[in-house]
């Protein structure tokens, strides 16, 4: 009797409570995506124009705002969004003109015009609290409209890349609605709630506790760049939800309450076992793609002995077996990056392929068997494929497919050459084979990384420490919550911050990669570097200075830029101030229960990340399955 009551009680409970995440919103018309950042602690604030705005990835940059231009890494192009065409500079780059797309409207029905740009830029220049205030104040002399759809910037000094402030690459200066902001007394404390959209969705509702934000498709979606360029977005609603812990994401997607999310590789594997509708960027191993415009690796502090020695930096590089390294870090799935540039298909095509011959013939200043040593190993790709096969995975035989999967080669695993490089600099081994510095003290390396065990920084630290320990160096990992600060101020020897600044992603100009390394921006230890990535290595080189200075004078579409990009990459290879290892391994989990035609490897029509502003351009391609 008691048992029967218990069963009855549980059934009633299930019946009453069978939990529905959405109230009054049809699930089959809703795309639910994960917020990868954090819950919004001031959820009612949508004034994204203030510099420190916290979580743009709750739909604000993906759905609400259109930029003037959008960087698209997978397509390898810069999309004209609110701008009708690319920037027009005068001959000496002291004036930039922007032609605006006609027929675009704010979501409240007011046309988008040059007045919005002029007012927005002037307001930004007026308020130090606003994002891009410094850059605009530094460069803009005057801004005015030539007509309703033409804006002219007079610059204080020549600037060939001034327009990059408006190119959205996970952040840019995005136009704000003049007719709203001009009526506000204080544009900084103004909450912009409800917000007015230039993008294809409008705010429908948001969680007072900051966990979710719900967006609804605009009835006039045709009057947005997304609608004009790509067509009608398919989901009527898009829900951004912060699930936080990975366990929650896995549970949510296994219950079909989450369509798109970021995961760790371990979480992704667990999800695949629980939900037959889940998939990754690739349908099979290695599941991820080389699509993220970002390189991971190791930063060596070039102001600290012995990392100021090129031989030492190269010795550490040659002491790494990249297949083993990526196997330790990411079970072999991450694409290797020999250059200070992500191995995305776009950059493989533009730079990696172009530099292959040079890389193969590149020699270090050391001889092996009487021949100059060539450190590049194009067969590393095949070794990675072999590693996968040994693990029981099927991989294609086509070398081009393999390069796209595993990256286009890396440096040889040559501990013998690494040893020679060290010996000639006075290093020696003790009786146990451990390396000693020239003064006889043991060589110890502390590798600084972010806390947690799933981030690429930790995974790089783990793999490097094992590789270098095998080589005879005493290594330890130091996890620090202030990892970025410590690296930026130079209080480290080896850090796992990004080895170089991120490139644009979909454009061949590498000014963004090289410029932070210009000696003008060099900062000694104790002073913050211009960023925590490559520049924090405190390396400088007059050859790179000259390349940056020449780039500064060239239009970013000038063909000479490609040559300069290659020259700069060669300098970085020769000096190896930091060690790039693999492209950022973004693991996505997509549920095909309600929606299909995600931008996977079989159909890579757009960058596949829901946190990127390009997400709005993905939505017209999605297809509902019709499941209720």
């Amino acid at each position: 009797m008691k048992k029967a009551f218990l069963v009855f009680f549980m059934l009633v409970l299930c019946g009453i409570l069978s939990f529905s995440q959405l109230v009054g919103i049809p699930r089959e018309e809703t795309l639910i995506v994960d917020i990868s950042g954090a819950r919004a602690s001031s959820p009612g604030n949508f004034n994204v124009y203030v510099a420190m705005w916290e979580t743009p990835e709750r739909g604000v940059q993906q759905l609400m705002l259109e930029p003037l231009w959008m960087m698209e890494p997978v397509r390898g192009e810069v999309i004209n969004a609110l701008a009708a065409e690319g920037p027009i500079y005068n001959e000496d780059f002291t004036q930039m003109t922007i032609k605006l797309r006609k027929g675009c409207y704010w979501s409240d029905g007011v046309p988008f015009t040059a007045d919005d740009i002029v007012y927005g830029v002037e307001t930004t220049m007026k308020h130090p609290e606003m994002a891009y205030h410094e850059q605009f104040s530094m460069y803009i002399d005057k801004i005015y409209k030539a007509d309703d759809y033409t804006v002219v910037f007079d610059l204080k000094q020549p600037n060939t890349r001034f327009h990059t402030n408006f190119v959205d690459r996970w952040g840019a200066w995005r136009p704000l609605p003049k007719h709203i902001f001009e009526k506000v007394d204080d544009q900084i404390t103004f909450q912009f709630n409800p917000p007015i959209s230039s993008g294809p969705y409008v705010l429908k509702d948001y969680d007072q506790a900051g966990y979710w934000t719900l967006w609804e498709k605009r009835e006039d979606w045709q009057r947005t760049p997304t609608g004009m360029l790509f067509g009608e977005p398919q989901p009527k609603y898009v829900l951004f939800y912060y699930y936080g812990e990975e366990t929650n994401k896995i549970i949510a997607q296994a219950n079909h309450n989450l369509d798109m999310c970021d995961l760790t590789m371990e979480g992704f594997r667990a999800l695949l076992q629980k939900n037959p509708y889940s998939r990754g960027y690739r349908l099979e191993y290695p599941w991820i793609g080389a699509t993220d415009p970002n390189t991971t690796g190791l930063i060596l502090n070039n102001d600290v002995y012995p990392y100021n020695l090129k031989d030492v930096r190269w010795a550490l590089t040659l002491a790494i077996d990249i297949t083993d390294y990526i196997g330790i870090a990411y079970d072999g799935v991450a694409p290797m990056a020999a250059l200070h540039l992500p191995p995305t298909p776009f950059y493989q095509k533009t730079y990696y392929e172009s530099l292959q011959e040079w890389l193969k013939n590149f020699t270090l200043d050391i001889e092996v068997n009487g021949e100059p040593f060539k450190p590049y190993d194009p067969s590393a790709t095949l070794r990675a494929a072999q590693y996968a096969k040994e693990r029981g995975y099927e991989v294609p035989d086509d070398i081009n497919e393999l390069k796209e999967m595993f990256g286009p080669g890396w440096w040889k695993y040559a501990p013998d050459v690494a040893e020679q490089l060290l010996l000639r600099n006075g290093f020696k081994r003790d009786k146990n084979g451990k390396w000693l510095l020239p003064d006889g003290t043991p060589w110890k390396i502390s590798i600084l990384c972010a806390p947690g065990v799933t981030n690429p920084q930790y995974r790089n630290a783990l793999a490097a420490s094992q590789q270098w320990r095998n080589f005879g160096i005493n290594c330890s990992i130091v996890q620090n919550e202030s990892f970025v600060n410590v690296t930026t101020y130079g209080n480290y020897t080896v850090s796992t911050s990004w080895p170089s600044n991120e490139p644009w992603g979909g454009h061949l100009d590498l000014f963004r990669v090289f410029s932070p390394w210009h000696s003008n921006y060099y900062k000694p230890i104790g002073e913050p570097a211009v960023n925590g990535n490559g520049a924090a290595s405190r390396w400088k080189d007059t050859r790179l200075d000259k390349i940056v200075e020449e780039m500064e004078k060239l239009d970013w579409n000038d063909p000479r830029n490609l040559e300069l990009g290659m020259e700069g990459l060669k300098v970085l290879v020769e000096d190896m101030p930091t060690i790039p290892t693999f492209g950022y391994p973004s693991v996505v989990g997509w549920d095909e229960y309600y929606w299909t035609n995600y931008p996977g490897a079989e159909n890579p029509y757009i960058i596949p990340y829901h946190s990127f502003p390009n997400f709005k351009y993905m939505l017209p391609y999605l297809e509902p399955t019709g499941r209720k």
Partner: protein
């Protein structure tokens, strides 16, 4: 008058000194860490992918330092902080500038207070009653069963226990949500649909705290009562032929509650720190994750705001216990 001079005044002075010292420590400690809030913001801007012209970085750093009020020596900042605090203003959040710290706190505090006050009181009441009875009637079968259950539950790390509940009731038997404070699309209001939704969302976080809280209170109370039952006055009451229930409740459990009252007051005072792990596991809103984020980003003002409230809460709870204790323990007098 003697009460004020000898009892109340010294305790209020002590209360104020604790708050002053606590807040002073909280002011200086974050500033001694390597976290630089200005650099954190610049890093966030650059790591998000937006292009920040290297030539503009120094100018941005200067602007942010001025806006955050981080110019001048640490002591100048310290005095400016007290001047602001006396006006009830913790200043703007540095990482979410210019949103006032109090706005951020008030956005999270109701969730934390609702969850922690309820669960602390429920687990305290149930745990102490059951613990008291199990301690007094320790040879009964039900007492031994309860003891065994709490012995099993108590050592389970909270994180594991919370995760277990989450997987059981949000995945294997998906009757409760795995995240959030209320459903998407639900209109906030004082009505049954919203309240029931709120209760459903808080059920798993609350149960994780209540069950382990009961186990902890149960074991402590049982131990206290086990010692009290061996006291002479209890033996004397038994020998005097008093009713068993009267001895249990009036002689034993009542006395056993004295240290537990202190524990309750302190637990309630600590709610301003939030329940970080609960919030993380169940993606439940609250002050814990707000504080954690503030520490990571070096948001001095937000750290100060939350921890100052926490210091005031704990010191206030201690003062309250001091003041009301004589009501519970006749051996203590207001003199």
């Amino acid at each position: 008058m003697l009460f004020i001079k000898r009892y109340l005044l010294p305790r209020i002075v002590q209360f104020l000194v604790v708050i002053f010292v606590g807040i002073t420590i909280v002011f200086f400690v974050p500033r001694l860490t390597p976290v630089d809030p200005v650099q954190q913001v610049i890093s966030q801007i650059t790591s998000q992918g937006a292009f920040l012209d290297p030539a503009a970085v120094d100018a941005l750093r200067q602007s942010l330092t001025e806006m955050y009020g981080l110019e001048g020596s640490m002591f100048q900042q310290y005095f400016a902080f007290w001047a602001r605090l006396f006006k009830g203003d913790f200043g703007p959040s540095l990482f979410q500038f210019p949103i006032p710290v109090m706005d951020l706190i008030m956005n999270s505090l109701p969730w934390t207070a609702g969850l922690l006050i309820t669960t602390t009181i429920i687990s305290w009441i149930i745990g102490n009653i059951l613990g008291g009875l199990a301690g007094y009637f320790k040879n009964k079968a039900w007492a031994k069963t309860l003891d065994n259950i709490s012995m099993v539950l108590r050592p389970i790390p909270y994180y594991i226990f919370a995760l277990l509940l989450l997987i059981l009731f949000a995945y294997l038997l998906p009757i409760f949500p795995s995240a959030g404070g209320y459903s998407v699309g639900r209109r906030i209001g004082f009505n049954w649909p919203f309240i029931s939704d709120l209760l459903i969302h808080s059920f798993l976080p609350a149960m994780s705290l209540v069950i382990l809280g009961i186990a902890a209170n149960f074991m402590t109370m049982k131990l206290i009562v086990s010692n009290i039952v061996a006291e002479d006055y209890v033996m004397y009451a038994k020998a005097g032929g008093l009713k068993e229930s009267k001895i249990a409740f009036k002689y034993v459990i009542k006395n056993g509650l004295l240290p537990q009252i202190t524990g309750l007051a302190l637990s309630l005072g600590q709610i301003f720190g939030g329940a970080l792990i609960t919030e993380i596991v169940f993606s439940y809103p609250g002050l814990g994750t707000l504080l954690y984020g503030a520490i990571n980003s070096g948001d001095y003002n937000l750290i100060m705001g939350i921890t100052s409230l926490s210091v005031i809460g704990i010191a206030g709870a201690t003062l309250l216990v001091d003041l009301i204790y004589p009501l519970f323990d006749p051996r203590i007098r207001y003199r």
